[in-house]
């Protein structure tokens, strides 16, 4: 084993020796520096490796062979090995990234760089307070030196302010150290901890000074203007060292000295950390400079970690593991992200569209954004999970709220940025710098993030039960993205089929239904993808991500797995949605609502963990005293996915602007994940005789009003896909209403609706999607007459609409019939009447879409349009076949459904006689007979007309009774624009945009708040110094309640 003293020896020695190498041998200087850094990395790595193998005690290294206080002690324990390894890796990779810059400046740059990395190692390892001070100083001087690598006025000014601030901070630290020595008689941290210093006020002040100065080094909000300037102006390679390396070392230093302090100090850390996390992210909202934005994000994340260090006394679980998971993610993602800003070159985030010329770079960016927000499979997902669970079980819900709020705000700007990169049109033609030494470090960290994510899952309880096989499949799809789309489509369908084959046979009850919708639905909606020519880069992995996520919801035994699947599904669907032409803002609002919802679910899971003490899904039914709140959180969380009123504003844009074959995926299938969530929530509440009667009652009303508003808004749309999207909002309102009834019939209705909505909405979106594909427009008034050009699509859409409208004899009617019975049985007459009203309003849009798209006047430019591609028709007709079968034999679906529900809701079941008639307490209905009667009658009447009127003369389009005139053009004769104007005048006020206005108001005010906070950063060094002093004083006053 190489002793860790060699880390210092290598760094320092090499830095000294490089001075002797002639300037012309700059390559040799570079190689030696790399070797040095690699050797330092190796030393940390081998120590870590030895600790992982066995539980060796930490090693102390006493310099000069004497114990403190006569010499300086270094420690190399498992934690130190890990942290130094991380710092050295960042150091090494950053050096690779910076290679041309360092070379350009010359050997001095290599020297300073080596010193900086070495100093950071010492900060981690040293156990001596004064030594810590010395290396804090070295670090800040080295950092300032490196910043000047980019020599312009801005960096110069930022470097100066940095020096000013860090010297002040080091001074504070030194004063603390002096006092500690005078009271404790030692500078050796372990001795000081062991002896337990006198409980003097002066001692606590001294420790406070130590702690606050290290906190200040970590750039707490708002005393961090100097730090932000550094992030913004330094070379991205340096910023990555500061964010990844320096901050890591400082965090560890903070962690190290905390045992000296009192319990009260931990609370300081929590609050300083949380305020920093929240404040910094708030200010990021309006930021448009990429590096400064990353600075905000960095400071925020570090704030979060400061607070986690402070939470140590409140957490049962090993805090080091939680910290490590979040730290590794932050370090790799942030360093990678900074490098990426160097690769892209443009610091205006709205210009980042240039990155998508290189999909692999976009992939890296996506990886970093998702890792920073804490999505699976990255380590921070698991870290945050455990953190929230622990805080919940110790009852610290305020902290949970702040952490989740901060994360959400961070998501706002990071996803906005990602959206720009994926979608925003950019005028600049400049290309990005993808030389290998720039990209390689970035790629390495991205790969590491996935790898460590996998490993991290085993560090936490229940993490080991996650099924990684489907994720491996997604990874393979990413790797195979160079293949043509049709091959990937086959692979995806095969993979999903296998997954379905694995999962579905194991399911029973309601899970079976949803497994079927998610996976069989997934396979069906993938089929239209065969029409895509080319490679369709990035589509298949993310589509699989969504379906696999949904599969995981089915498979999940524990809340962790469920949440893992939920987040995976959200991530996949985000990428699917943003693929649409004008989807950028819609994808963002989808993501934000989804994340907001996910965090509410997260918080509720925390409450469940606190109540039940375990992570199993069954824990949701033992919530303890906070059940009411938890179930409300769950319901709201899941309703962000079902787009219930108030939480629906993301849906129309997201579904309408998505690609033709994506809309059915996200509408017919994805929404049902929310339904599954609601079902899980209601079941956990205790079925029919639960104690929480208010929540379902409120949800019932909400469902009914959602149905009304959704359907009404659908009737007023000009965009065919928006019409269907609003219709989905309405239909999901029915489902929410039905489930909220909490009766047998109610659930039968709700789940029946879920199934039929899946079938007809998939048909409708595929049918209309195919029309949009052919006509290149969404506007219905620009369509018309398609029945002649796309007859098969028309038939499918017609049948879908009849099912949707609930007209007998098709299966959609079952929903209406069940509703009548369920509502009267439950006694929800008025909500029920709203539901029926909504149902009739649905006719408006049902007719509108059929008429305006397929009937009326064919436009001249559409005379050569072809029928929909066969790949669109196949799944439609398969679904249509199932609709027909179940319409003729509704008992084949509703009888088994009834028996699935019987264990939960034994009361009020339907009774089926042998002839297939269903009897409720008050009504009856025989689907088969209705089908036969109507079918035979229809055929007979048709035959009658046909006999009477065998050969009608086919006439041309304009051959209509038009007061003897010929209509001018199809456009002016196609009565489709603003079709229900009278109705709009009468009832349109119901769909007024109040809710969108409300959310816009919220977003504007939060952004404005962040913006006004930014005003404290004047850019003036003196002001920043003043901030620091004020910060110390204010924190001191708060922590002591006065002087």
């Amino acid at each position: 084993m190489v002793t860790p003293i060699f880390i210092i020896a290598t760094g320092l020695g090499l830095a000294f020796a490089l001075g002797f190498i002639p300037k012309k041998h700059i390559n040799l200087t570079g190689i030696l520096s790399f070797l040095g850094l690699a050797f330092m990395t190796f030393i940390s790595g081998q120590w870590l490796f030895s600790y992982l193998g066995n539980n060796e005690l930490s090693q102390f290294i006493f310099t000069a062979g004497a114990r403190p206080p006569f010499a300086i002690a270094l420690k190399m324990g498992q934690a130190e090995a890990m942290i130094t390894l991380l710092i050295n890796v960042v150091g090494l990779l950053s050096a690779v990234f910076l290679y041309d810059k360092l070379k350009q400046i010359g050997r001095n740059a290599f020297i300073i760089y080596l010193v900086l990395i070495m100093a950071l190692n010492v900060i981690v390892m040293t156990r001596d307070l004064f030594n810590l001070f010395v290396f804090l100083e070295i670090t800040s001087i080295a950092t300032a030196g490196l910043m000047l690598l980019d020599s312009n006025l801005k960096t110069l000014s930022a470097g100066f302010k940095y020096l000013l601030a860090t010297s002040l901070i080091a001074g504070v630290f030194l004063i603390g150290t002096i006092f500690i020595y005078s009271f404790g008689g030692s500078l050796f941290i372990d001795d000081l901890t062991a002896i337990g210093m006198a409980p003097l006020k002066a001692v606590s002040v001294a420790v406070f000074l130590l702690m606050i100065s290290i906190i200040l080094e970590l750039k707490p909000f708002p005393a961090n203007g100097w730090g932000l300037d550094v992030y913004q102006t330094a070379n991205p390679g340096i910023s990555s060292v500061i964010s990844g390396g320096t901050a890591t070392a400082m965090l560890f230093a903070l962690y190290k000295i905390m045992p000296l302090s009192t319990m009260q100090s931990y609370d300081i850390l929590i609050w300083v950390g949380l305020i920093t996390f929240l404040g910094s992210n708030l200010m990021g909202l309006k930021q448009s400079d990429a590096r400064r934005l990353l600075g905000y994000s960095s400071i925020g994340q570090i704030g979060l970690m400061i607070s986690i260090i402070g939470m140590k006394p409140y957490i049962q679980f090993d805090i080091q593991i939680i910290l490590l998971a979040i730290l590794i993610t932050h370090l790799m993602a942030k360093a990678g992200f900074f490098w990426l800003t160097g690769i892209v070159g443009n610091t205006d985030i709205s210009k980042w569209g240039m990155i998508r010329k290189h999909p692999e770079m976009l992939f890296l960016m996506g990886t970093f954004v998702f890792a920073l927000i804490g999505f699976p499979p990255f380590p921070s997902f698991f870290g945050k999970w455990q953190l929230i669970m622990e805080l919940s079980s110790s009852g610290h819900f305020l902290w949970i709220g702040l952490i989740l709020l901060g994360s959400l705000i961070e998501a706002v700007y990071l996803f906005r940025w990602l959206g720009y990169a994926i979608k925003k049109e950019t005028a600049t033609q400049s290309s990005i710098d993808i030389r290998p030494h720039k990209t390689l470090p970035t790629i390495i960290f991205a790969v590491f993030l996935y790898g460590v994510g996998y490993l991290a899952s085993f560090w936490f309880p229940m993490g080991g039960s996650i099924n990684w096989l489907p994720l491996a499949f997604i990874a393979i799809l990413f790797a195979l993205d160079f293949l043509p789309a049709w091959i990937k489509n086959i692979i995806s369908i095969a993979g999903l089929s296998y997954y379905a084959y694995q999962i579905i046979p194991e399911q029973e009850g309601l899970y079976l239904i949803f497994a079927f919708i998610f996976l069989i639905g997934g396979i069906l909606t993938l089929i239209p993808g065969f029409t895509n020519k080319g490679k369709r880069i990035g589509f298949y992995p993310v589509a699989m991500m969504m379906f696999v996520g949904m599969g995981m919801l089915i498979e999940a035994q524990s809340m962790l797995e469920f949440f893992f699947g939920w987040e995976l599904m959200t991530a996949g669907s985000y990428f699917l949605i943003i693929r649409g032409h004008r989807s950028m803002p819609h994808a963002l609002s989808y993501m934000l609502f989804s994340l907001g919802g996910a965090y509410l679910i997260f918080a509720a899971f925390g409450i469940a963990f606190a109540g039940s003490g375990n992570f199993l899904m069954s824990g949701l039914s033992t919530m303890g005293g906070l059940g009411g709140i938890a179930y409300t959180l769950l319901a709201i969380g899941f309703m962000t996915k079902t787009a219930s009123l108030g939480l629906h504003i993301w849906l129309p844009g997201a579904h309408a602007e998505a690609e033709s074959d994506v809309s059915p995926m996200v509408s017919a299938i994805l929404l049902k994940a929310g339904v599954l969530g609601l079902i899980i929530t209601f079941m956990a509440m205790g079925g029919p005789n639960n104690e929480y009667t208010t929540l379902p009652y409120v949800l019932g009303w909400l469902g009914a009003i959602t149905a009304l508003v959704g359907n009404l808004a659908a009737a007023f749309q000009e965009d065919a896909k928006r019409l269907l999207a609003y219709s989905s909002i309405g239909q999901l309102g029915y489902i929410l209403f039905a489930l909220a009834m909490m009766t047998h019939l109610g659930w039968l209705t709700g789940i029946g609706y879920s199934l039929s909505h899946f079938a007809y909405k998939a048909i409708l979106f595929m049918g209309i999607g195919a029309v949009v594909l052919r006509l290149k427009t969404h506007n219905m008034f620009e369509m018309g007459g398609m029945i002649k050009k796309m007859p098969f699509t028309f038939i499918a859409v017609l049948m879908g609409i009849i099912t949707l409208a609930g007209i007998p004899p098709l299966i959609g009617f079952a929903g209406k019939w069940l509703f009548y019975n369920a509502i009267i049985e439950k006694g929800w007459y008025f909500q029920g009447t709203i539901i029926f009203f909504a149902g009739i309003i649905a006719f408006l849009y049902c007719f509108r879409i059929l008429y305006a798209v397929f009937l009326g006047q064919l436009k001249d430019e559409h005379r050569n349009v072809k029928e929909a591609p066969i790949w669109y028709l196949i799944p439609q007709y398969l679904l249509l076949l199932s609709i027909m079968i179940f319409s003729a034999k509704p008992e084949w679906i509703f009888q088994p459904l009834g028996s699935m529900l019987a264990p939960i809701f034994p009361q009020g079941q339907l009774v089926w006689n042998e002839g297939g008639t269903a009897f409720s307490d008050i009504g009856y209905w025989n689907g088969s007979w209705v089908m036969y009667i109507i079918g035979i009658m229809f055929v007979m009447i048709f035959a009658w007309l046909f006999i009477q009127n065998r050969k009608p003369k086919k006439v041309k389009q304009f051959n209509i009774v038009y007061a003897g005139e010929k209509p001018e053009r199809p456009e002016t004769t196609h009565m489709a624009y603003n079709m229900y104007s009278g109705y709009n005048k009468a009832l349109g006020f119901i769909t007024a945009n109040g809710i969108t206005t409300f959310w816009n108001w919220i977003s504007e005010h939060v952004t404005a708040m962040g913006d006004s906070l930014r005003k404290i950063y004047s850019g003036n060094g003196q002001t920043y110094v003043f901030h620091i002093i004020l910060f110390v004083i204010i924190v001191y006053l708060f922590s002591n309640g006065g002087f």
Binding site: I787, P808, L844, F847, I922, Y924, W925, F938, A963, A986
Partner: protein, 302 residues
């Protein structure tokens, strides 16, 4: 009863209803004409018109859906007839009411409407669409008070079966829903004005302003089919209200008298009142009729 016998009885019922519908239509037209100081048609005119229309040989078509429009429409009318019990307690004239309760009928109304709307839509005449959009718009709110009334009835009689509701009203006029649940009846009667679409709710057809559209696009045999449907549908809708609110019918005479007055009620109102604009008529059903419907439910539920 064998299925053949059943079918024969059903056809007999249909024959009676069709002929009564034709006669009732003629009578109503005559009455309306007399109110306007005109002579009006002869009472047997429909029997002349119908064969004439069916025997017209020249006809045109705008396409498949256009052709099927009247088929849908007539299927809608006949379908409601088939699911409707006609005579209380009579096994011969309860049609196929065993296949479903009142909910089936309420929703099957849309079958013909939608089909016809689509057929007219393929005709491509803009005025057809104007009429349809108005009709659908008005119908949405027309149904609201009716729904409330039906729910109120379901609470009152604890059933959704039309047969049972009609049977429960036997034994004297005071047992009629009209007297046992006057609020629901009032709500339903007002909503019926919208269903039959006489003035003030006849902007949908707008006989004066829109002299063209479906009735002129659909000519000859098509119009014959539509007329046939009109005759059946008017009677059978009135039968629905009769069964639900006016004690059903113990025999055909009773059915004829009751349906006449039920239908005449809407005509009477229509003759007296001027026409609403569409935004007025849409909102009208959400005022007094809605309140009546809500009260009807409260009255029954409490």
């Amino acid at each position: 009863m064998s299925i053949i016998a059943k079918l024969l009885w059903v056809l007999l019922g249909l024959f009676i209803i069709l002929n009564w519908g034709l006669l009732m239509g003629a009578l109503i037209r005559k009455i309306v004409a007399r109110v306007g100081k005109r002579v009006g048609i002869r009472w047997y005119q429909p029997w002349l018109s119908l064969p004439m229309l069916y025997s017209t040989r020249s006809s045109i078509s705008h396409g498949v859906m256009y052709y099927l429009g009247p088929v849908f429409r007539l299927s809608g009318g006949v379908g409601i007839f088939l699911f409707m019990p006609l005579i209380v307690g009579s096994p011969y004239f309860d049609n196929f009411s065993f296949a479903g309760d009142v909910v089936v009928i309420l929703y099957f109304q849309f079958f013909g409407m939608l089909g016809m709307a689509l057929g007219a839509g393929e005709g491509g005449h803009p005025y057809s669409t104007i009429g349809i959009s108005r009709g659908l718009a008005q119908f949405t709110t027309v149904e609201v008070p009716l729904t409330l009334a039906v729910i109120s009835l379901a609470i009152q009689y604890d059933t959704l079966s039309i047969k049972e509701i009609a049977a429960a009203q036997q034994g004297g006029i005071t047992n009629w829903t009209l007297f046992t649940n006057p609020l629901a009846t009032a709500a339903a009667l007002l909503s019926m004005l919208g269903i039959f679409r006489h003035a003030p709710f006849n902007l949908v057809q707008a006989p004066n302003e829109i002299p063209i559209g479906p009735p002129t696009e659909y000519h000859g045999t098509y119009l014959g089919v539509l007329r046939t449907n009109g005759a059946i549908l008017h009677v059978i809708e009135a039968v629905l209200f009769m069964n639900l609110f006016f004690g059903g019918a113990g025999n055909w005479i009773e059915l004829i008298i009751k349906t006449f007055f039920i239908y005449f009620f809407t005509v009477f109102i229509g003759v007296v009142f001027p026409r609403f604009r569409i935004e007025q008529s849409v909102v009208w059903f959400l005022k007094v009729p809605l309140v009546l419907g809500i009260l009807a439910i409260l009255f029954m539920a409490i």
